[in-house]
């Protein structure tokens, strides 16, 4: 009997996005416009993805993204928020998106990524407000260079349900 294959452990940034108010938008404007909103989000995300970044999966109105490089992840998140804001200002489709990210070593599993670091990233997005990019200290520590014109503001130690230790979080902005 062959030995089980070693788990495929990755190293990089797990990013979650979430559209704020999607349920209310769908209730007011209906499914067709809700699908249009998701389509706009997806097309903006696809147009901003750098080499080494990929859309892992859609989670309702949210997305799970993966980046090999922390700096590219931060710059992409900021760019996404700028594009979402521009689109929201020019249309009646409110792309109020919050973004959370965490550097870690998840395990690849049939195209998906799983593990504690994915769970941490999922909790971080809950801390972000619409239009914000919030990231863990480990993501900041993994930056090999200063992302272009990005400032980091510490939000302090954040305790999250199901995560035993406080995670020091930062807000990234231009």
């Amino acid at each position: 009997m062959p030995a089980p294959a070693a788990p495929d452990v990755l190293a990089g940034v797990v990013m979650f996005t979430d559209i704020v108010g999607f349920t209310e938008f769908t209730a007011i404007r209906g499914d067709d416009e809700a699908l249009q909103l998701l389509g706009v989000q997806e097309s903006i995300v696809q147009s901003c993805m750098p080499p080494g970044g990929r859309l892992v999966k859609e989670l309702g109105d949210g997305l799970l993204l993966w980046f090999d490089d922390a700096c590219a992840a931060v710059e992409t998140a900021i760019l996404l928020q700028e594009r979402f804001e521009t689109h929201s200002a020019e249309s009646m489709l409110p792309l109020w998106v919050r973004i959370g990210m965490h550097w870690g070593r998840p395990t690849a599993r049939r195209g998906d990524i799983v593990g504690h670091d994915v769970n941490v990233a999922a909790r971080i997005v809950d801390v972000a407000g619409p239009g914000e990019v919030v990231l863990s200290e480990r993501t900041v520590a993994a930056l090999e260079r200063q992302p272009l014109a990005v400032a980091f503001q510490e939000l302090g130690p954040v305790l999250m349900k199901g995560i035993p230790d406080p995670v020091r979080l930062y807000r990234a902005s231009r």
Binding site: V20, E24, G129, G156, L159
Partner: protein
């Protein structure tokens, strides 16, 4: 048993970090030169550059010097800061947050309400999913919630306000830019009658009301899908 008091060197900038999962966290910033844990089971350690770390179990009451920067992480704790603090950053999952006065504030709660009486030049940022957000007096402000109400008593700086289904009410004390957006809630912004803003309303079905003469004093953008929009005289 660790000493529950830390004496701060004169002139040092103090940064207090507090972690406590539950129980009320009360920090009083007042004229004093030390940090003291008055109540609660807390381990207090000092770090570099005036940093004091307080790991608490359950409820805790702390006194610290005026102007102390406070960074606090909690899950279900109610967090209160009394007196005049420096930069205040608080994050809770379900607890309420109440701040008397801060130079700058970043306050986040998933389901708790958030209130600040006075925020200085650093401005205030608040974020919640279902709690009510209130800033009595602030300079610039950025407040967002999903189902809660957003209220700014008096803003002396630009404001950016968002709520999905709650209402927004803000009074600006001068010609400051304002952006207020909801999906189904109502928006009321009020200015002194001397302000002549350039106003942009965006709505699918909501009513609009503009009581101020059009001008170029500041940019005002209000949008909703279905709520009522008002820019009126304070």
């Amino acid at each position: 048993m660790p000493d529950p008091t830390v004496t701060i060197p004169r002139g040092g900038r103090v940064r207090l970090r507090i972690n406590s999962r539950s129980g009320r966290i009360l920090v009083t910033a007042e004229e004093r030169t030390d940090i003291i844990v008055e109540k609660g089971d807390a381990r207090i350690t000092t770090g570099d550059e005036g940093q004091v770390v307080l790991e608490a179990r359950g409820a805790v009451e702390v006194r610290c010097p005026e102007g102390t920067d406070i960074l606090c992480g909690a899950i279900s704790s109610r967090v209160e800061v009394r007196g005049r603090a420096g930069n205040v950053s608080v994050s809770t999952a379900s607890g309420h947050i109440e701040i008397d006065e801060a130079f700058a504030a970043d306050l986040r709660s998933i389901s708790g309400s958030i209130a600040i009486k006075q925020c200085g030049e650093g401005g205030c940022r608040m974020s919640s999913k279902s709690g009510r957000l209130t800033a009595d007096r602030t300079m610039k402000a950025e407040l967002s919630t999903v189902s809660g109400r957003v209220e700014v008593g008096e803003a002396a700086g630009p404001v950016r306000l968002k709520t999905v289904s709650g209402n927004i009410e803000a009074r600006l004390s001068g010609a400051f830019d304002a952006s207020a957006s909801t999906i189904s809630g109502a928006v009321t912004l009020s200015y002194p009658d001397t302000v002549h803003p350039r106003t942009r309303f965006r709505t699918m079905s909501g009513r609009q009301r503009l009581d101020l003469p059009a001008g170029q004093d500041c940019e005002v953008s209000v949008s909703t899908l279905s709520g009522k929009l008002e820019v009126v005289v304070a």
